[in-house]
Assembly symmetry: C2
Homo-oligomer: 224 residues x 2
């Protein structure tokens, strides 16, 4: 008794529903003038740390907020809230990704037009988030130098869906014998032409370039 | 229109089917006298590297084989086959974990009684593999020192289901400011009493202890 076909059909319905909600969210984000960025990666690639530095770097000059997804704990929300930005945690239980409905629920009661940037940190997972549009304008996929240069080849859907790839923890590149050329070649293979940034949240390397790119993309989106 | 309840029901049927197949596999493994070990972790935590060293360290004295799961590519199977051990790749497409049916299909035609050890490397994922029994005797969950000490708290089901936790890349512990006490405390919180090994496949640290533990567990299983 193979129940896979039924599973596939139900999954397609769920995805269709997700796409409808994501489309409505994207329209609402544009209407409100908030630029929405999502972050996807393996567990431990440095999403929260990059976000911490980004919130700290934008506070004062920009109105920023964040949603963070995890199976369990509110640790990341607590970490990020130290920046002073409004932060909400989405606890997914056993679900391996955020979906548009979770984002919509988490935003209830927020005045989006009071924000310049909203960041959405997904559950740490290089597979499941691929199929779920969250209504974001810019999807970052992070990959750390410690993970191995083959990751784009082994997890093609997630890298294929990236608007920007951020290579993190570059301060560890020498210690792990990171092969920059190999990773870039593999990225080019599954996501031709995707922009790539290298950062080290620890040393600050690349952070200025990242914040500038963010401003540039947001400005471009507002003039559309 | 919320389709989640139907999704949950279908998922429960899939899990029930998986458990039945896994139970049959476990019986077959025991009858054949092969000790089956599975490896689960984030992408890039070092499953394939640990397996490479394990196959190399066991060849000659033990009859070993491996199954490796990935969304795409046969890279890992090629890497592992260099050891001389029989290796088969399971390509999952977009599925974020192995299941017992995939394992059964991949083993077709193999004479299990000709093996002492069979290793099953799961797709890199700290969420999805948690619910799927593969019929293994020993489930390893790997976590690298570069991922952050909070991972057990943020991905409790996978650590809760571990028979053994292997902390990898200990050669990078100083470079990343790894807090051993914090990780052990967090592991104890979600998986009280779980045995923990520390290894560096690069330097060889802990490999002797790992191979000894493997022999010991296999011997204990044979006398049951």
């Amino acid at each position: 008794m193979n129940r896979e076909p039924r599973m596939v059909q139900v999954r397609q319905n769920v995805l269709k529903q997700n796409d409808m909600v994501a489309r409505a969210l994207r329209e609402e984000f544009r209407r409100s003038g908030v630029f929405v960025v999502s972050l996807v990666s393996s567990p431990g690639a440095g999403k929260t740390t990059l976000l911490e530095k980004t919130l700290a770097g934008s506070q004062g000059s920009r109105r920023v907020a964040a949603l963070v997804g995890d199976l369990a704990t509110e640790n990341d929300a607590r970490r990020l809230a130290r920046s002073g930005a409004p932060v909400r945690q989405i606890v997914t239980g056993t679900v391996c990704h955020l979906d548009a409905m979770m984002v919509r629920r988490a935003l209830e009661g927020w005045d989006l037009s009071a924000l310049d940037f909203l960041f959405i940190e997904n559950v740490g997972n290089l597979v499941c988030p691929a199929a779920y549009d969250l209504g974001e304008e810019l999807r970052l996929v992070l990959v750390s130098v410690t993970e191995g240069e083959d990751k784009p080849l082994k997890y093609p859907p997630i890298f294929h869906g990236a608007d920007l790839v951020v290579i993190t923890k570059t301060d560890l590149a020498d210690a792990v014998g990171f092969d920059r050329q190999a990773l870039r070649k593999n990225l080019e293979g599954v996501a031709p032409g995707v922009p790539i940034l290298e950062v080290s949240a620890r040393t600050g390397f690349g952070m200025e370039e990242w914040l500038a790119l963010l401003e540039e993309r947001a400005a471009a989106a507002r003039t559309v």
